[in-house]
């Protein structure tokens, strides 16, 4: 996956801040891609929806390496108290400061589920229990657009699944009623959309359990491939207390629950409280998507 470097984005951000602080007042020099995206984008008639066809909990291919986002804007070493002394990871392309402590937990989950984790998530997607649609609105240009809106919705229905065990492209889905809809604006550069931070509820399936993880300060990156499919990353912070409470609803036994609780508390690296204890941990998932139509 070739994505824009976080470094380039931060440079652009810095440049924009510099430009703003230098007090230039005429518009002709303003880079429309500079700084965060506006809260609302000009509406256009072009929109494109996708349905998530695959959701992968990221693991570390090598120790210290993971895909993800720099959620707190810091490259934290083992001495960084603001990250509760959790060392940040490095992306496979070499970008430091990646916040994805959850990647440490995934192997344990694999063991606990006897390696059935990925298959369980895929099965839930394929039989319609875990369907997330993302609509990109306000698109002016398929490659570069300084302001696009992303809408995250849960949809319903039994999807058609092809012989490649993925949801077929081009299907129409109805939005699931009474489910929260998340909106965020973002920028698209060279076919890659970056958006966030924003609050996002992400449905997850583990074993027989279905629940929604609330991500704080979620970031999204989506790339629109030439063959019309999509790939991307979603990252954000998850409250440890919420995770523990959710895990308790699973029937995994008191011993295992104790272990899980300790593990979760051991990876918190975000949002320190007054006593300096981090209350959340960072996480990231990757996904693939295919074109779809969403009925609002």
């Amino acid at each position: 996956m070739k994505l824009l470097r976080m470094k380039t984005l931060r440079h652009a951000l810095l440049a924009a801040l510099l430009a703003a602080s230098s007090g230039c007042s005429d518009d002709s020099g303003v880079d429309p891609f500079a700084g965060p995206a506006p809260a609302q984008c000009p509406a256009t008639s072009i929109e494109q929806s996708m349905i998530l066809t695959r959701l992968v909990l990221l693991r570390q291919p090598m120790p210290g390496v993971s895909e993800g986002f720099d959620l707190d804007g810091r490259v934290s070493g083992a001495d960084d108290n603001l990250s509760c002394r959790r060392r940040d990871l490095t992306s496979p392309e070499g970008t430091p400061g990646i916040d994805n402590q959850f990647s440490l937990l995934v192997p344990a989950l694999d063991t606990a589920t006897s390696g059935a984790l990925d298959a369980a998530i895929q099965a839930a997607i394929n039989n319609g229990q875990l369907m997330v649609a993302v609509t990109v609105e306000g698109v002016d240009d398929r490659l570069n657009d300084p302001c696009v809106s992303l809408v995250f919705r849960r949809v319903q229905g039994r999807p058609f699944v092809g012989s490649d065990t993925r949801i077929d492209p081009g299907q129409t889905f109805d939005t699931l009623r009474d489910e929260p809809v998340s909106r965020v604006t973002g920028r698209m550069r060279n076919g890659v959309i970056e958006a966030g931070p924003f609050p996002l509820g992400l449905p997850i399936a583990v074993l027989d359990a279905r629940f929604v993880i609330q991500l704080q300060n979620a970031r999204v990156r989506i790339r629109w491939r030439a063959d019309g499919t999509f790939e991307g990353l979603i990252g954000g912070g998850i409250e440890a207390a919420q995770m523990i409470a959710t895990t308790q609803t699973l029937t995994i036994g008191a011993d295992l629950m104790g272990l899980v609780r300790r593990l979760i508390l051991s990876i918190t690296d975000l949002d320190p409280d007054a006593d300096g204890n981090c209350r959340s941990f960072s996480a990231a998932v990757s996904f693939e998507g295919r074109s779809a139509f969403v009925n609002p």
Partner: protein, 555 residues
């Protein structure tokens, strides 16, 4: 006989450019736009009338329409045998195989048992209460009425009494009146009088020609317009001689065109015209086409039939739109293959009318999964097969057989030969291949953006697709242009007329009928290319009533 290379009725090799494409400007769509009214009659020499076997669809319709639409006809049945790609033509030349006789026998008992199974059904079907096990009068009344429907004419006294006797013997043996009736009913259903329809001739008064007898004409009309036997009203019209006069015939034809059964006749015609029955056997490699699931072929067939019905009957529109329209019928599965939003309003079967967006590359029949998937291979497209479909089915151009003893191999895809177009150039370079392939490949190549199952693709595995070409001298840039060219070609409506004629008559037009087909084509144009009107023209034409003048086959 089934073959990708359809059997020819006449194997005369057509000269290279014997594609019928006149230079005349296409006639306008409305009758009052300067199109000459066609002559009322032309010279016409009909061939001998033939015995026509009921097709599968006609058998099922007969049971539903004559005995009850709640009867299940689910047992295996003798297959239809196409000839020259036409099931109607095949039905007029085939017989019934041994296995077919067994199958019809089993079916007849199954249907008879269903019809007379319960008290309620018996009361509804029989219409009289038997006085005992053997009640000849009640049996006779049931068999007379039912026989008239099933054999499409009144039974003779001898036939009726034989059936009544049969029913009585069976009733006595089984000690049950209704069980006995089942055997007589089964006898009627197994009879050649039910399974075949004879087109019998009689002298036409005063004209020195022959015409079809009233009951034969009633059958011709009903099987053409409804793909089903005549109903009671039509049989009565025949009995009362009303089909002998122009007015009487027209009145019945109008009634039949207004009936919901007209859709059956239309669907049978379109299925035969476009070869949609072949969809049952279409096979695609799931490694290549991941979204071609088992329900797609039937859905594809329904889409094409629904569109034809919509244009020809519901809207009664210019039928040529069937190649250029953006309207079509899809269910969720087809919508996903076409990458369009599924319709919000749907019928009970999940199909709804959609209008494709103005920027859609798809138009009409040549954008349907049915046509695109049939004229393709299990693993790829086939511009040759698609070109052949357009030539044969839409333009009625003769396509000669491939020559034998030549190397027909296509070069493999390679770095320098990436697209179908590049690989097919070989065919056009080789003099033995060129004459036919110049007719076929360029036309089919216009559809290369639609893959082997009819889904749109921007390129052929990364290589650019060039859909431009020309059809008999008219250039087009893409599939849209091709469909417009076909729409504007006079060969297209002439071909539709020809195929409808063959469907109605159950044979290919002979030399003596060519002028009549020409007249009907002109009439089609004159009437704004409305198919319903063409069906009426055929049904009410003098030719449709004319039989061969061979005497000596009178009773």
């Amino acid at each position: 006989m089934h073959a990708t290379y359809a059997s020819r009725w006449s194997l005369a090799l057509a000269p290279l450019f014997a594609v019928a494409c006149s230079d005349a400007t296409p006639p306008a769509a409305t009758p009052d736009a300067g199109v000459a009214q066609p002559p009322a009659t032309v010279t016409y020499s009909p061939p001998e009338p033939v015995l026509r076997r009921l097709t599968r669809g006609q058998y099922v319709n007969a049971i539903h329409d004559l005995l009850g639409d709640d009867l299940l006809v689910t047992r295996p049945m003798e297959p239809d045998v196409p000839l020259g790609g036409s099931v109607s033509v095949g039905a007029a030349s085939t017989s019934i195989s041994r296995r077919g006789v067994e199958q019809y026998e089993a079916l007849s008992y199954d249907i008879a048992e269903q019809l007379l199974r319960t008290e309620a059904r018996r009361a509804r079907a029989v219409g009289c209460t038997p006085t005992g096990t053997a009640d000849a009068a009640c049996a006779e009344s049931f068999l007379r009425a039912t026989g008239r429907r099933l054999w499409r004419r009144p039974l003779t006294d001898a036939e009726l009494s034989a059936l009544v006797t049969l029913a009585g013997n069976a009733a006595t043996t089984l000690n049950d009146f209704h069980r006995g009736l089942e055997y007589a009913l089964a006898a009627m259903l197994q009879s050649p009088h039910f399974l075949f329809r004879a087109e019998l001739a009689e002298p036409a008064s005063g004209s020195g020609t022959a015409r079809f007898s009233p009951y034969s004409l009633a059958s011709r009309l009903a099987f053409f317009l409804w793909n089903s036997p005549p109903d009671d009203a039509l049989l009565t019209a025949a009995a009362e001689g009303r089909l002998d006069s122009e007015e009487g015939l027209r009145a019945e034809v109008e009634r039949m065109l207004a009936s919901p059964r007209l859709t059956r006749g239309l669907r049978a015609f379109v299925t035969e015209w476009l070869g949609l029955q072949l969809l049952d056997g279409v096979s695609k490699d799931p490694m290549v086409f991941t979204s071609f699931s088992a329900d797609v072929p039937a859905a594809a067939r329904e889409e094409t039939l629904s569109l034809a019905e919509h244009l020809a009957i519901t809207r009664d529109a210019d039928f040529r739109e069937i190649v250029t329209t953006r309207e079509t019928f899809v269910n969720r599965r087809l919508a996903s293959i076409y990458n369009v939003r599924a319709p919000s309003q749907t019928r009970a079967d999940g199909f709804g009318l959609v209008t494709l967006p103005a920027d859609s590359p798809r138009r009409g029949l040549l954008g349907h999964v049915s046509v695109l998937a049939l004229a393709a291979h299990p693993v790829s497209t086939s511009p040759t097969l698609r070109g052949k479909f357009i030539r044969e089915s839409l333009l009625c151009n003769e396509v000669p057989m491939p020559p034998v003893n030549v190397n027909t191999a296509l070069p493999e895809p390679s770095a320098s030969l990436r697209t179908m177009r590049e690989r097919l150039i070989q065919h056009q370079a080789d003099p033995t291949c060129r004459s036919c392939h110049l007719l076929l490949d360029p036309v089919g190549l216009a559809l290369e953006h639609f893959n082997g199952i009819g889904a749109w693709r921007p390129d052929d595995r990364g290589a650019r697709i060039d859909p431009s070409g020309n059809l008999d001298g008219v250039s087009y840039r893409d599939a849209l242009g091709l469909t417009q060219t076909i729409h504007d070609s006079p060969s297209f409506p002439r071909c539709v007329t020809t195929r409808l004629y063959r469907f109605a008559y159950g044979r290919h037009e002979t030399d003596g009928e060519v002028a009549e087909v020409g007249r009907l084509t002109q009439d089609f144009a004159y009437g704004g290319y409305r198919l319903r009107r063409l069906m009426s023209s055929i049904a009410t034409s003098a030719a449709f009533r004319r039989a061969d003048g061979v005497a000596g086959r009178q009773p």
